[in-house]
Symmetry: C2
Subunit: 221 residues, 2 copies
């Protein structure tokens, strides 16, 4: 709340200030609290102190607002993945593990955005795929796997797109199945990070990208 300067009116001279952004923030809070299904446009409006019809001056409908939440989410997601990858430094292996951790961190820190990105949007195949921000995020992963695959002799080098799909699927699966709200946590007293990292290590060993470091990633003792 520290924005004591006149941020609340910077966009242009609105009536409310910058209702558009306020609604997006309110949506984030509500989705975090009640899940992306429990989100209601009316409640967001109430939380922003405007009438239920006001949001329609800024978003075509409820789905459009949710789409925007997803879009900005993908942008932050891509940026964080890119930062974590850091152009493969210090080493591609270390970097891709950082990338995996960044993936899970995003899913944990922004559950609302993550849920909307991969759940609400594209619910019944409506209108998700034309989202350049999502492509950007995936491209970071693809860039990383391509760099990794360069260490392989071309003969046994699988298409790097396939490799990035494997890693994406693994990361998404871990993030989804072991998210904090899910019950598997009790029976699986292991952190998502541990699961993803060990899984990636085994996978990368199978790929041939891995001298022979921590064999299996779960060596006992």
């Amino acid at each position: 709340m520290g924005s004591s300067d006149n941020e609340w009116r910077r966009g242009r001279g609105y009536h409310h200030g910058n209702l558009r952004q306020v609604l997006l923030d309110a949506a984030g809070k509500l989705i975090e609290q009640h899940g992306p299904l429990g989100f209601s446009l009316a409640e967001a409006a109430r939380l922003a102190g405007v009438s239920p019809a006001a949001p329609y001056r800024h978003f075509r409908d409820r789905d459009a607002l949710l789409s925007e939440v997803a879009r900005t989410g993908f942008e932050r997601f891509a940026a964080q993945l890119e930062t974590a990858w850091d152009n493969g430094r210090p080493t591609p292996l270390q970097a891709i593990e950082n990338l995996g951790r960044a993936y899970l961190n995003f899913a944990r820190n922004e559950p609302a955005a993550y849920a909307v990105m991969f759940q609400t949007v594209g619910e019944n195949g409506k209108e998700l795929q034309d989202m350049p921000a999502a492509d950007h995020a995936f491209n970071v992963l693809q860039k990383a796997t391509a760099e990794l695959c360069k260490a392989l002799p071309a003969a046994e080098r699988p298409p790097s797109r396939l490799v990035s799909l494997h890693i994406w699927a693994l990361a998404h699966g871990v993030a989804t199945l072991l998210s904090e709200s899910r019950g598997e946590r009790r029976k699986v007293p292991v952190s998502p990070e541990e699961v993803l990292e060990s899984g990636m290590l085994i996978y990368l060993k199978g790929l041939g990208v891995l001298g022979e470091g921590p064999a299996g990633g779960a060596g006992p003792a």
Copy 2:
């Protein structure tokens, strides 16, 4: 009454017949059509030819009906996985590939159930985990990975629960990210089955379970 024992009236002497099951079927159809969010109890009742209040004689509320859809879905899921695994025949490797295909087949053939199982249920961490049927499905996977891991020297054998989580996450990720309604399909002209199978092969090779068969699972040409 001549106990003609007609099926449409078998449960007990209902008014409608077997409304409970009819509602569950209607829910399945509607969820397939409009996605699990677009499902409406009222529409299901209309489709079953009863008043909007009738479902409340059979389900506590909307979520209870959805939970039941998820529960029966998990039962079929577990059964199909078990059949595919077939106690590790003909060979554990072949069997676990069958299991992967069965996973994707279920997600494709019963998108409504799959979506509800992993999406609607447990939306905001409400009440999903006490679902024995879900445990049963996971146990099939765990049994399979345990069998697989037996081929490994105990020294480098990771906890089989961890291995089953890896495979589950990979399968779930592939099923989710590459489902037919998703747009990635265009850019990734490769079937989910191919992605999952190649991913599993690479992973299993990394595990050490894999003589040296199809290296990488994506040998060019």
